[in-house]
Symmetry: C2
Subunit: 156 residues, 2 copies
DNA sequence: AAAATAAAAGAATATAATTCTTATTAGAGT
DNA sequence: ACTCTAATAAGAATTATATTCTTTTATTTT
């Protein structure tokens, strides 16, 4: 086991998951430390890959992307090369923000963020249904979102 | 219509969605401008709510949360007050990162990030099934993730 | 075309990140 | 229990970036 996260690391990650613009000074004060160890710990967390990146989270609706849709998909063939091709194609579709291979009633579950129902239908017709080996397709249209966070549970 | 986003705003948002640690200088260079207008535009995008927040994205697997699960849920009652209570309860569960009310074959779709199958089962038994009015519950266990991005499509 | 408005440039300042040096702490080995 | 060693934290100094302010340029309006 190379490096485990101690309590301070976990606290830092929890803070940065919520607001990555917090200064090292402000984090240091919250954790009753000075800036240097906080700074060094953050750099270590970045270098070792615990922190993948820092991003701006946009307000989808404000920007005009008012609709989130989940699409469950079954494929008719399951050869390795086809699955890879499917995922590759999906990666070219900017409206698809997630694509998971799943067990259960579907092979894949997609998450889409689009302008509206029309954009969703356009996606289905001009992109999704053009993929070969496509089996059953089942859409779940989001009516409202009760929770949507980037914060993953680290304990504490 | 208060404020539309012009091309430069959109470019800034695209950059910040990918890496929010980019300096104004580096963004300015990419867009062939100076730092001041970039800085002011970013502040405006923040103030007007196009940018909701800045966050650190962690590596779930590295941190020990190796399993993502989607759970489709139907409820037995649909009174307004119950739906609200349901969502409120869900918000207390840190392993649930998303909760959407959907149309289609389910009432709600949850996304969970947990350690492993055991943690998932614990969630089901000790948290989910304790909620009243619970109807059908159907889980999709993620086997692999082919795409997972925070970048929403702004065109360009 | 002139005036008014908004946006950008450039320079100056303030703040925070980063580095470096020194001190403290915690653990390992004797 | 003591000393040595390595790791971590503190504190000061430096560098880089964010932020503000002023001037200039471009754009829009009448």
């Amino acid at each position: 086991m190379p490096h485990a996260l101690d309590k301070i690391d976990t606290q830092i990650l929890n803070i940065l998951q919520i607001d990555s613009n917090r200064t090292t000074k402000s984090i240091a004060e919250e954790l009753s430390m000075t800036t240097s160890p906080i700074f060094e710990r953050i750099k270590k967390l970045e270098k070792e890959g615990y922190i993948k990146k820092y991003v701006a989270v946009l307000d989808n609706k404000k920007i005009g992307l008012k609709l989130t849709v989940f699409i469950g998909i079954t494929l008719q063939g399951h050869t390795r090369s086809y699955l890879e091709k499917f995922v590759k194609e999906i990666n070219n579709f900017p409206e698809v923000v997630e694509c998971h291979r799943v067990s259960g009633n579907f092979d894949y579950l997609l998450k889409l963020v689009v302008e509206d129902i029309e954009a969703y239908e356009t996606f289905i017709i001009t992109k999704l249904t053009l993929l070969p080996y496509l089996g059953n397709v089942q859409s779940l249209i989001t009516l409202s979102t009760g929770k949507e966070t980037n914060v993953i549970d680290l304990g504490l």
